[in-house]
Homo-oligomer: 177 residues x 2
DNA sequence: TTCATTTCTTGATCTGTATCAAGTGCGGAC
DNA sequence: GTCCGCACTTGATACAGATCAAGAAATGAA
């Protein structure tokens, strides 16, 4: 990974837990306190909110080579509202918050790396919010199609719809244009 | 600040630049590459996007005791879309990215602190996005009113409206209920 | 293969919020 | 004080996207 020495990378490899998991596996669920940060080496994870009416709203897709966690629970240590589910068989690495904390204490290259990683995540989230606020449903759909067309082959359209902040019907109509 | 030794706090005090600035001061503007992270000790800052039609859309309010920067420019080093303006006379501390980077290299308590700080910011942004996606205009208005009623005395309503993602007319109607 | 279930599409209608258009009221300049 | 400009309100109308409803297509189990 960028900005880390070979020794740091080795330490990461030692501390992170590797798991090969099947499609459908739930990494964490509503009401739990998620104590891990995850890295998707291979595969695809979908994190979603469950509404009272039973509907699921996709908050985020995490494809290969991306970090994710339940930011609400992870930082504040309260039960999360998110469920995180594997959309495909995946290879997932994880580290607990306390392990990370310990690593940050020992190694400031790592702390710096963590800081940069979270900055990157934050920047992406900022962009997402900006688009939600200023773009029409059609613009958001087209942007996703341009940026990440494979997602349409990898997850169900209804999940993409809720990620875009629209209903499946609206997405269907946009696709028909 | 939480999690920092007295020595660390002293170092922060040395590196951060203190400025007393007047209401109306622009900290950074569209097209610039913002190289600072700011901390508002006292006062209030509003960061906003400027649309083609001349309208301003508030992205964020940063009241006393909060950190902020232009995440898009800061991390990717490209010109920002944001303008940051003092809504009140304020006491602002700032540190450049390179100073921060240097500090992170020397001191991992600081790196850890930076990591935690950005986690906190990210969590707030997550919540904001979640609300934008799932709440009606009225719910968002009521949530802001409950959480941070002073803001209605401190900034113009039209800026609150765009922060809530609605027009001034809609905010006016909500307030009339 | 067949049947059942779920996903996706298509159509009709409804609704929240935007937009357009006039006000009203207030604060600052003089 | 008077006037100007801007912030805010209020009303009428328009529209994007939601909701409701029904059918078509895909998926998966037996």
């Amino acid at each position: 990974m960028a900005g880390l020495s070979a020794a740091d990378e080795q330490e990461i490899a030692l501390v992170f837990k590797k798991q090969i998991l099947e499609k459908g596996t739930i990494l964490f669920d509503v009401g739990e306190t998620c104590r891990q940060i995850y890295f998707v080496e291979r595969g695809l994870v979908r994190s979603y909110y469950s509404l009272q009416n039973g509907k699921e709203i996709t908050a985020w897709f995490s494809p290969e080579q991306s970090f994710f966690t339940a930011i609400d629970t992870f930082y504040k240590q309260k039960p999360t509202n998110l469920t995180s589910e594997l959309v495909e068989d995946s290879e997932i690495y994880s580290i607990t918050f306390s392990q990370l904390d310990e690593m940050l204490n020992k190694n400031h290259a790592m702390a710096k790396f963590a800081f940069h990683t979270i900055l990157d995540v934050t920047q992406k989230k900022s962009e997402y919010t900006f688009n939600l606020k200023f773009q029409t449903a059609q613009e958001r759909y087209e942007a996703l199609l341009a940026e990440y067309p494979q997602i349409f082959q990898r997850v169900q359209l209804k999940h993409i719809a809720s990620f875009l902040g629209i209903t499946p019907e609206t997405l269907s109509r946009l696709r028909a244009i």
